[in-house]
Amino acid sequence: MGAIQSVAVIGAGVMGAAIAAQIANAGIKVRLLDIVPKEGDDRNAIARRAIERLKTTQPAPLMSSRAARLIVPGNTEDDFAALAECDWIVEAVIERLDIKQALYRRLAEVRKPGSVISSNTSTIPLAELMTDMPESLRPDFVITHFFNPPRYMRLLELVTGPATSADAIARITEFCDIVLGKSVIPCRDTPGFIANRIGTYWIQTALILAMEMGIEIEEADAIMGKPMGFPSTGVFGLMDLVGIDLGPHVNASLARLLPKTDAFHRMNREAPFLGTMIAEGYTGKKGKGGFYRSSGRGKDRVRETLSLAAAAQGRLEWRPSIRPDIAEVKDAKKDLKQLVGAKSKYGRYAWGVLGRVLAYAASLIPEIGDDIAAVDAAMRLGYTWKYGPFELIDRLGADWVASHLADLDETTPPLLAKLGKGAFYREDGAALLRFMPDGSYRPIGRAPGVLLLEDAKRGRKPVLTNKSASVWDIGDGVLCFEFHSIMNSIDGDILALLGKTVALVQKSHKALVIYSENLRAGPGKENFSVGANLGLAIFAANLRMWGKIEGTVKEGQKAMQALRDAPFPVVGAPSGRALGGGCEILLHCDAVQAHAETYMGLVEVGVGLVPGWGGCATMLARWQTAKDAPRGPMPAVAKVFEMVSTAKVATSAAEAKELKFLRPGDGITMNRERVLADAKARALAMVAGYAPAEPETLQLPGASGRVALGMAVEEFRKKGVATPHDVTVSSHLARVLTGGDTDMIDPVPVAAVKDLEREAFMALFRTKESQARIKHILDTGKPLRN
């Protein structure tokens, strides 16, 4: 069988539709089937409505409008025969064995031989699913367990049976990894697989102990969140997010399937109020609210929290939310032991939950798998834990954990006893080793085509470095420029190091990749670079060092231009936010190999400025020279004006292409862990015969164009959409984009537009209003509309 090219998803519920969306995001046509509705003429109505819902859901399951068109709605009667053409059929129907098995029987009839059939079940073991199923299905049947939302959660648990063929495993793994961009973790066919097995125990323990120990919900969330590297929502906030009604199903399934000796049963104690909440519609964010809710409207809006004390006695009462001030939580910033080792109520709760979770995770090896690194990865990628359980044990010290488990009357799991004073992870030169159940340490391998900077860095020193950035040798003559300032913001150090790097590559290397890596950042939280360091900028403004600020703008323009003019290929490899100056760096790269989850935008107007590092000039050139661009100078100017004046941010790499932040030739990598390798390969491919791009000249409309843009802005002001300072910022932007005092017939060199950028940037930076905007975003993280 060849690679998977044609896919269908059966079941257009939340998960099924979102899985179909991710397949479409990868550029693959996908059929989405559901049953024929009992009423109405449209036999595909259920799937069609699901597709419509995908377009409005937030966070968006679809990466582009084009992706939506790749999902073909259908129904399980009329379109079933067409499944014969599919290489992979995903079942995502209701969690009922009889319904699933009936579907499998039908599939066995129509599917083409060798096609992979998978279930997205989270509660039914593969062995049960395959009981009494046609023999022919067994070699090709797997469980592909996606996590919600599938676009953003990188984990995919792959469960295979004893009869599953190696070929099917290889094909589905390759497809899910490379094409869908998921981290495929092979799991044994045990209840809850890996992530839900540990995650459910964690949530249940946190809930039950909070109730029994008299911990309030906000306190529990403050403890069981950030300090431990768990999602900042905490456990109750997380339940609100995923739906409180989900819990009882998962718990019931685990209770049914797990052996009586499993620790889960001890924690699966009754919390009857949950049933009442679900029955009354308090299922969380999707319902009337949950543990947290808002009451009142507008100014009277108050955030309320369920009183856990009252709930424990069977009463549902919400009270105004509190902001817990727990000293141990603050101390935990320096050392987690200050929290989990504290003898206070909060300390006992923290350790009561964490200690049991860690012990539970350790006790599950080798039952759920031999590989602790896989378990850690599953928890990081499926539950957005910053550290997996074994990494957490290493942070606390395995012997510390073992000795403190006695406080909880927990016996030390054999794995932990075997480890003794050691650590689960160990470095050996450039290799990272992990502890195996047999007591040995073995290196963690990466799949071919996966290159992590953290691996390239291990045991080595950077080629160049300063406090904000470093340059690493990633082999084959390619250097990697890495940001490591606050949110990877750009400062003088980064600009200076860029200059040094260009000189170094020119002297002794072949190509440069610009890349940042924070694989522990949760979905949507990674930064390629958020742009210029505004804290430094506002300080310089408060120092009234206008000359220095202008110097930095010039230096930035020079550094960006140097990337373009360098006699070797420079490839940008972004993932996450690439805003302002971060976006401008990418605009000056010879090519970009972007992670699909890349969010590019020139957002300077949000802080009352205009792009000053060539962003305006480059975008003008892109829109003007695009093959599909209309003739004349004005359309490109109008388009770039619209994008920059509204601080438009592309919500995916695919959308960045539509907006021309990326060029048609730029690449998109779906799997986060493959971005660097792909970028490196692209850079190497460009080396032979490389010549830097010629500088562009632009045709800009000058004063007349400025008037036209000004009128548009005036309309917005009249409608109350644009604030007075928006008008000021827009007029400066208009002057830059229309080429200043140029005449329509004169060609304008890009360098001249950069001079205009700098002038406008400085003029705006000197205004109190722009300074106030910068200040506000630094203080609150939110834009100021002045």
Partner: protein, 596 residues
């Protein structure tokens, strides 16, 4: 015998000419304080300073305070002088009229304070500490406490102290041990030892109100667990008369380098009755309200001592004849020329004068902003004032006291060997000035406060309150010929400040030691630049009046010439300071500990 004449002319210049005094007169509550009234207050202050306080300065130094069985006696004449001082209303000039004060603007009160410091800084500490206690109580005390305690403090009938330091903790108050245990009647039982308590015990007033920092039983560790308590020497009865002696006593007084007339006491509190002032655990914040005022006052001590030392150095330089001028005899009728003819003596005198007049003008600016902060009803103006005063407080405290000591030392230098002889009274100023660099937060701590706390605050906002007026002034006087030779120097110094600030803040992002390594140099760099600015402003005012040859014009001519001396001979230090700052922390931090 030393001499002292209050520099009223220069004070009036700062109050009325350099700054617009009508703006201050227009603040709520200031209507009565016309320039005429203020001038007459200054003259009265000059009189009591010159005639009552100054003659006791040397006496106090020689006799010192005496301690016997818990009783402290002040030097001869102090009791009478204190009575005269209180009767003249000098304890209450700037206090709130609601509590019996006179509500005089701080701009004038600061000048009065300078005179007291010049005349007798040791004596000045007694009412000075009372005023500190007044400020702390007024900001943090309950209405009831204020009514009960403030009037007697304001009138001088009772005095006040601030009890912070303990034998093992001075700068680091987080280690403070004194305990406060609640009693059933709402009061507290205070137990612990305090040292270095100025005016902790004396014979000037019938009662002493101590403000004591202590820990409640449930207090968190460190500085967040400190509360402030009011602990009187005698517990007043309901009817206001003095009741029984409280459970505390002075166990010793310190034998010091100088400031001998001021009793520096070790206090032992043994179950003394006290009352909580302000909120529990917020004592340090309450104390810091007063600390800022106190720090400015200490800065004024430096200025006061500098002024009197300078006056004596000038007098001595005029009368002492020794050698001949390098450019030929200047006083042929005498055996030798007065030493005033020598360039180096003139350098010392002009250095002193340029710093003194600059500091007085800078103090005048700070006092104005404090006055606006205290009395204005314009929130924006108050914010600017608060920012500016916060920024300048460490500068005034540290630079003024550093200079006070330097100038006292220059005066000794002018005297030659005679300066070292006690009878001349000039070496006392060196000794008296030295403490001001140490107490109320050492000058090293002031510099850390400026660089580590004030500069980074809110993205550097505080600094704009200094930079903007300077930049606006430079801009506005671009075409002013009188300032043509001054503005480039001022601009350059300002650039040095800007650059040094940038260098330090950037260095601090990776290494906090950069803050500590640069702080003292930075404070001086910043201080010199602020002096340069007030000097430029003084030139702008004085130059138009310096033209004619009349005697009145001499004052203004001297101003312009002193400004020139400052710009040319003193301000260039900013360049060297910047160079030193740029070099960073490495040279001091990399030195091996064991090699010291």
């Amino acid at each position: 015998m030393p001499v002292y004449k209050a520099p009223l002319k220069d004070m009036r210049f700062v109050l009325h000419e350099l700054y617009d005094s009508t703006a201050i007169a227009e603040l709520p509550g200031n209507a009565d304080f016309t320039p005429e009234l203020i001038d007459s207050v200054l003259e009265e202050a000059a009189k009591i300073s010159e005639e009552v306080l100054f003659p006791l300065n040397q006496v106090g130094d020689r006799e010192g305070c005496t301690y016997e069985n818990g009783v402290v006696r002040t030097p001869s004449g102090y009791r009478e002088a204190y009575r005269t001082f209180c009767e003249g209303g000098w304890t209450s000039i700037s206090s709130d009229p609601d509590y019996g004060g006179q509500g005089m603007p701080l701009t004038a009160a600061m000048m009065v304070e300078e005179m007291f410091c010049s005349a007798n800084v040791a004596f000045g500490l007694y009412p000075g500490l009372s005023h500190g206690a007044y400020v702390a109580l007024k900001h943090s005390g309950s209405e009831e406490q204020k009514k009960a305690w403030l009037p007697n403090i304001v009138s001088g009938k009772w005095t006040g102290t601030m009890c912070l330091t303990e034998p093992h903790c001075g700068t680091d108050l987080g280690m403070l041990r004194t305990k406060a245990v609640p009693k059933d009647d709402g009061s507290y039982s205070i137990t612990g030892n305090k040292i270095f308590i100025s005016a902790g015990e004396h014979d000037l007033a019938e009662n002493i109100v101590h403000l004591v920092l202590a820990r409640l039983p449930d207090a968190p560790a460190g500085v967040k667990g400190i509360s402030m308590f009011l602990v009187p020497k005698f517990l007043p009865r309901e009817d206001g008369t003095l009741g029984p002696r409280n459970g505390m006593q002075c166990t010793a007084i310190e034998h010091k380098m100088g400031l001998n007339g001021s009793a520096t006491c070790a206090m032992s509190f043994d179950g003394a009755t006290g009352w909580l002032v302000g909120e529990p655990h917020k004592g340090l914040a309450a104390m810091f309200k007063m600390m800022n005022t106190e720090r400015l006052s200490v800065g004024i001590q430096g200025l006061g001592i500098a002024e009197v030392a300078y006056q004596n150095a000038v007098a001595y330089a005029r009368e002492r004849i020794q050698g001949r001028s390098l450019t030929g005899t200047k006083a042929p009728e005498k055996q030798a020329d007065p030493i005033l003819v020598h360039p180096d003596v003139r350098r010392m005198l002009l250095t002193s004068r340029a710093y003194i007049e600059g500091c007085r003008a800078l103090a005048g600016w700070v006092a104005r902003e404090l006055e606006i902060l205290e009395k204005s009803d314009d929130d924006d103006a108050k914010q600017v004032a608060d920012d500016f005063a916060s920024l300048m407080t460490p500068v005034v405290k540290a630079m003024f006291t550093d200079l006070g000591f330097e100038i006292a030392s220059l005066a000794v230098q002018t005297y030659g060997g005679h300066g070292y002889i006690r009878d001349h009274g000039i070496e006392q100023y060196v000794r008296d000035a030295r403490i001001a660099m140490l107490y109320e937060g050492t000058n090293g701590i002031q510099a850390l406060d400026l660089v580590g706390r004030k500069l980074p605050q809110d993205g550097g906002r505080l600094l704009t309150r200094f930079l903007d007026p300077v930049l606006e002034f430079i801009e506005a006087h671009q075409d002013n010929d009188a300032l043509a030779e001054f503005l480039p120097a001022l601009s350059q110094a300002l650039e040095h400040v800007q650059e040094a600030t940038g260098v330090i803040m950037e260095g601090a992002m990776t290494n906090r030691d950069e803050v500590g390594a640069a702080s003292v140099d930075y404070l001086r760099l910043f201080g010199l630049t602020s002096l340069a600015f007030v000097w430029a402003r003084m030139v702008a005012v004085a130059a138009p009046k310096a033209g004619d040859d009349g005697e009145g014009a001499q004052f203004y001519r001297a101003k312009v010439q002193t400004a020139k001396f400052f710009m040319e001979r003193l301000l260039p230090q900013t360049g060297a300071l910047l160079t030193a700052i740029r070099s960073g922390a490495a040279t001091m931090m990399e030195f091996e500990d064991a090699a010291f």
